[in-house]
């Protein structure tokens, strides 16, 4: 319990520190947040126009797709707003930049992940919550479920990001491959699951875990089902365990970059 409190306090300190660092260039920060908000909004406009022409897509309606975008962007935003280095693990490992984190008196993985915040991710997080409240107009039970599920989705993204980035331990600079893998997952996660069948559906709950990032959370919200909620949480924790396990397994193969740098 004490360790958990300790790490939560560390997280709070890093969030404050990262925010202050970003506010040094506040024009750039706010423009990136606004741009990401608009970017996500454009997708929702696309789906609204699409559903005007084709009102039902295998049982899915426009509200469901908006809910899907809301939970996905909220989880994505929280994940990379708080732990932005998840997106850079592959290059950090390949360039031998882990040395600095290995010397710190904290567990290397969470500490390194907290070291940077992706500014545009806050635009995603803001978008997710605003759209869910504004378009779906949930009752308080659904709102509480949405907040908790967005945290679970964030955990899925962190776990998957760590897993894909950790490829660099095994195959050298895996930056492009990790990006491609992550983007594939996001691409699938932004479309209704009813489009996919057979072997692809299995892939979406294993190698490309879009199912845990959007399909199960959305079903939870649609049906307010404890069963789907439990599956989402189990999926998120499983993904995190696989990601962290792969990272620490790979860490044994890590070779220092003998890099000399000043962290100020």
């Amino acid at each position: 319990m004490r360790t958990l409190t300790n790490y939560l306090s560390l997280t709070g300190s890093y969030v404050r520190f990262n925010f202050r660092a970003q506010l040094e260039y506040r024009g750039a920060f706010f423009s990136q947040v606004a741009a990401m908000f608009i970017n996500d909004g454009v997708w929702v406009v696309f789906w609204i126009l699409f559903f005007k022409r084709f009102p039902v897509l295998h049982g899915w309606q426009v509200e469901d797709v908006i809910g899907l975008w809301a939970i996905l962007t909220a989880g994505f935003g929280l994940a990379f707003g708080l732990m932005g280095n998840t997106l850079s693990i592959a290059s950090i490992v390949a360039q031998g930049e882990l040395d600095g984190w290995l010397l710190q008196p904290r567990a290397v993985l969470p500490h390194m992940l907290l070291g940077r915040s992706a500014p545009s991710a806050w635009g995603d997080a803001l978008f997710g919550y605003v759209v869910y409240v504004g378009f779906v107009r949930p009752d308080w039970q659904r709102m509480v479920a949405f907040v908790l599920l967005s945290l679970a989705v964030g955990v899925v993204f962190i776990g998957f990001g760590v897993l894909s980035g950790s490829l660099s331990f095994f195959i050298g600079n895996a930056g492009a491959l990790a990006d491609q893998w992550r983007n594939t997952m996001i691409s699938f996660a932004t479309y209704p699951p009813t489009l996919f069948q057979g072997a692809v559906k299995i892939l979406l709950y294993t190698a490309i875990p879009a199912g845990f990032a959007s399909y199960l959370p959305v079903e939870t919200l649609r049906q307010m089902s404890w069963g789907y909620a439990l599956l989402t949480v189990c999926g998120a924790l499983g993904m995190l365990a696989v990601g962290a396990g792969t990272f620490y397994l790979g860490l044994r193969r890590y070779e220092s970059g003998n890099l000399i740098s000043m962290n100020g």
Binding site: Y25, G27, A28, S31, Q32, A34, A35, M36, I38, N39, V42, W43, V45, F46, L49, F50, K52, R53, F54, V56, L57, H58, S120, N183, T184, S187, F188, Y191, T194, L195, F196
Partner: protein, 234 residues
């Protein structure tokens, strides 16, 4: 691109089955996927010109280009267009392979290909001018990344990247067809998969108007920006 094509093949399969129509927006299912190959190839072939200009302005590398006997914009134009053509050919080849596997071939006419080859370079130039305008904003803004992101997303949705403009609700179609995004994505792709002289003429008129407006805008912004340039020795 493979993922996007697969996802959209599934999406359109479901839509065609649900509506029971053979043609939607004037295109059959195979044509829609080939339309997507064309629009994706055009969009994905664009080099990150705005980022290069942004970095050159911030780091002062711009000064090196300015002492050369070629205008800054013209140098970028040549480099960007050369790179874009190569990237477009590679993307088109990869996309065509995926489309062949997913839905098989469609019939292309010589006239359609000829019209496509006329409007495609114009589309590239309009997109180049837009990227130049965005990059030059670095003289005033801390970051141009936000504007570039919004531009690319507007292009995706309003330009008909994923869904042909003919499929959108009829009330918004005239507005979308009048925007420059349609001259870059929707019209060229439509001319390739379902050629029509009417669409070709409409596209050419829009492209000429866009070239004129963007060209004047880029020239003016380029001149104003260079007047604001301060180069410190080093």
């Amino acid at each position: 691109m493979t993922t996007v094509l697969y996802v959209f093949m599934r999406l359109w399969t479901v839509v065609y089955v649900a509506t029971g129509s053979e043609r939607i927006g004037g295109l059959n299912q195979a044509q829609i996927l080939w339309y997507l190959v064309a629009t994706e190839s055009i969009l994905m072939s664009m080099p990150r010109l705005w980022y290069e200009i942004d970095q050159e302005v911030r780091t002062g590398q711009l000064a090196v280009q300015l002492i050369r006997p070629l205008s800054y914009a013209a140098a970028h134009f040549g480099r960007s267009l050369g790179e874009r053509v190569v990237r477009f050919v590679i993307n088109l080849a990869a996309g065509s392979l995926v489309a062949l596997i997913l839905v098989g071939p469609i019939s292309l006419s010589a006239m359609g290909l000829a019209m496509f080859l006329i409007v495609l370079p114009m589309a590239f130039i309009i997109d180049f001018l837009a990227a130049l305008l965005i990059g030059l904003c670095a003289f005033w803004l801390e970051s141009t990344q936000g504007i570039a992101l919004i531009y690319s997303r507007l292009m995706m949705v309003l330009g008909g990247l994923l869904v042909p403009i003919n499929v959108y609700p009829e009330s918004v179609q005239p507005w979308l067809r009048a925007l420059p995004f349609a001259a870059i994505l929707d019209a060229p792709a439509r001319i390739l998969v379902n050629p029509s002289a009417h669409v070709f003429v409409q596209c050419l008129i829009l492209q000429i108007a866009c070239l004129t407006i963007y060209g004047i805008g880029a020239y003016a912004l380029h001149s104003i920006a260079l007047r604001r340039l301060f180069v410190n020795g080093g």
